[in-house]
Amino acid sequence: MELIVAVAIGVLVGSGVWLLLRPRSFQVIVGLSLISYGVNLFIFGMGRLGVDRVPIVGQGAVDPSRYADPLPQALVLTAIVIGFAMTALFLVVMLASRGFNGTDHVDGKEPP
């Protein structure tokens, strides 16, 4: 499972970086989204991977190894919310740039 998650994060971030370096603003925003997906999975992985573990501890004496770490899950939730808001904001800036310049090149003008 570790290998699958690691490869998934690698592929997401790798494609994200490639798209980020492309000249069209649509490619940039898709690249940024892919990077943020990869980062979210990575944060999740930092809480250690496991199957059948709940993050909420019940009453009485418990064995912590049978539970998942709830903190990275809370962090991922925050990161998703913030990332979503920032992507929406970037989309607005992108559209404004398209409207002003009539091109979707990230520099606001087509290369000669």
């Binding site: 940024l32 809480g47 904001l89 970037f90 800036v93 740039s97 606001g108």
Partner: protein, 552 residues
């Protein structure tokens, strides 16, 4: 029972949040009301910051030590989010409030009409900046960073226009990538140490197993890159000149504090986690990067200042210059050097803010023809053509107009040029002098023997950058004030001239009062070096006993 002094720690975050949220409900046309709310909130921030400074300095009775800790929702450390104030945080809160006050008053003249929700975004920016100065928790730092950045995206685009949108898009993209790196770094640190509280992190960092140490350092490095992007270290600084040059004047002035936020976080975290010998095998991690990266930034900014013909870009490069000097000073890591750097930080932030506001006023003296000619002036030696076209009269609003506008502009420009270039007798020089004096007299010099070679390089770079700054500013000053034989005398209103004058006067005050200011900064830097005190104060912060506990 909690005293009022404990709750005061939360005021710099809650006050702008409430003010900003309240202003979203107010109709966009009622600018007077919005301005009043904004002004009251910012004045409140300034008052709170000054009281916090006095509390941290021990002038007012309140806290047991020089560090005040606030436990959000009464969760014990390290499970909840703690806010901590020491002398450095309180000082930066005050600096931020002063700068915000100046640009807020300035913006009331015309800029707050250039777009929607200016005041609300402004307050949210202040909330984010204040939060980063206060927080003692890494993930909370991320949240406040994002609040600050989200507001700054809106403010950078304030006034709209193709240039702002193009610069703003690059700015947003760069910062989104930096935020991703921030998250990666935070989660790696959490994965290795199991804590996000900065004080707890400093405690456990020495006990990390050698097996995990590489992961820890990789996490710290990723985190560091995110902050270095914000504090504009070369080669991560290319977004800054375009964004700051395109932003409207009051926004650019308040953005002058934003690079300092990156610097503050690096100063705090690096000194806490890696500077001392307590960090075990990781001690001194990243020192060379800060030291030589800072110097490279200084060199880059020097070249940039000489190369820019536009006053706005010049001011943006002066911000990079101060970042470079500060980062290199942090890399030295000695208490006296850090104290000097803090003085330089104060002076450079205030003068950069004043310069950005002043540029807007100076640009009004230019006629349409001369602003085109300014670029080609040297190539064609076309001074004679300068007063050919008078340009159209810009629509002016009513308001109290100050007399002797040109004299005011010239005097302010010379003052801020001296401050930015760091020439005597003003505070920029004192800051640089304190920095250099501390570097050339290392505290451990008797044992280590002599001055570090890096200190000599730094000396040369600081002096060269000062010279370059003076040359570049004087060149533009001559072109603006002397070359045009009949310059257009602009109408300046009091509320536009006053903030500039106030910021420059404050620089004069810290020049005259350099003794007391330096004493405060010395103790602030000393407190940063005593990391055990910080760890003890935050880790040992008592929770408030509940009513049930007290009854028992």
């Amino acid at each position: 029972m909690m005293r009022w002094t404990d709750h005061l720690i939360l005021v710099p975050v809650v006050l702008p949040l409430v003010a900003g949220a309240a202003m979203l409900l107010v109709d966009e046309q009622r600018r007077g009301l919005k301005f009043a709310i904004s002004l009251v909130s910012t004045l409140g921030l300034l008052a709170a910051a000054i009281v916090l400074m006095r509390l941290a300095d021990g002038r007012l009775e309140g806290w047991s030590g020089s560090i005040g800790v606030y436990l959000a929702a009464n969760w014990p450390v390290p499970f909840g989010i703690a806010l901590a104030v020491d002398r450095l945080s309180a000082l930066l809160l005050a600096l931020c409030a002063v700068l915000a006050l100046a640009s807020l008053v300035f913006s009331h003249a015309r800029w707050n009409r250039a777009g929607v929700h200016f005041h609300a975004l402004f307050q949210f920016l202040l909330m984010g900046v204040n939060g980063t100065f206060l927080t003692a928790d890494l993930f909370n730092l991320f949240v406040f960073f994002e609040v600050m950045l989200a507001a700054s995206y809106g403010l950078a685009l304030h006034g709209s226009g193709a240039a702002r949108v193009a610069a703003g898009m690059h700015y947003v993209a760069v910062n989104l990538v930096a935020s991703s790196l921030f998250l990666l770094g935070v989660s790696m640190l959490y994965g290795v140490t199991g804590t996000l509280n900065m004080a707890d992190l400093a405690r456990v960092i020495a006990h990390v197993s050698p097996h995990d140490r590489m992961l820890l350092e990789a996490g710290a490095a990723l985190l560091g890159i995110a902050f270095l992007v914000k504090s504009a270290m070369w080669p991560l600084a290319f977004w800054l000149p375009a964004t700051y040059a395109a932003a409207s004047a009051p926004v650019a002035a308040v953005f002058a504090i934003m690079t300092k936020v990156g610097i503050y976080v690096i100063l705090r975290l690096w000194l806490l986690l890696f500077a001392g010998a307590e960090a075990g095998a990781s001690s001194g991690f990243g020192r060379d990067l800060l030291l030589y990266g800072g110097m490279a930034t200084l060199a880059f900014a020097t070249i940039g200042m000489l190369a820019s013909h536009d006053l706005r870009r010049l001011a943006a490069y002066s911000i990079i210059m101060s970042s470079g000097a500060l980062l290199a000073a942090i890399g030295f890591g000695e208490t006296a050097v850090v104290a000097g750097a803090l003085f330089y930080l104060l002076s450079s932030t205030l003068s950069a803010g004043a310069l950005f506001l002043l540029i807007e006023l100076i640009e009004r003296t230019r006629t349409a023809a001369s602003s085109v000619l300014a670029v080609t002036l040297e190539a064609f030696e076309a001074q004679g053509a300068l007063h050919a076209g008078a340009g159209e009269e810009a629509p002016e609003d009513s308001g109290v107009v100050i007399p002797a506008a040109m004299a005011f502009l010239g005097l302010s420009f010379v003052t801020s040029a001296l401050l930015v270039a760091g020439l005597p007798p003003l505070s920029g020089f004192i800051g640089k002098f304190a920095l250099l004096a501390a570097m050339l007299q290392p505290a451990g010099g008797q044992a280590g023997g002599g001055v570090q070679p890096a200190a000599w390089i730094m000396l040369a770079l600081l002096l060269a950058s000062g010279l370059a700054g003076a040359v570049a500013l004087m060149r533009i000053g001559i072109r603006t004030f002397w070359v045009p034989t009949r310059p257009r005398v602009p109408r300046l209103r009091v509320i536009e001239a006053m903030p500039v004058a106030a910021l420059l006067l404050l620089c004069l005050v810290i020049t005259v009062q350099a003794g007391p200011v330096m004493r405060y900064l010395d103790s602030a830097a000393g407190a940063l070096a005593r990391r055990d005190d910080y760890v003890r104060a935050v880790m040992g912060a008592p929770t408030v006993p509940s009513a049930r506990d007290r009854a028992r």
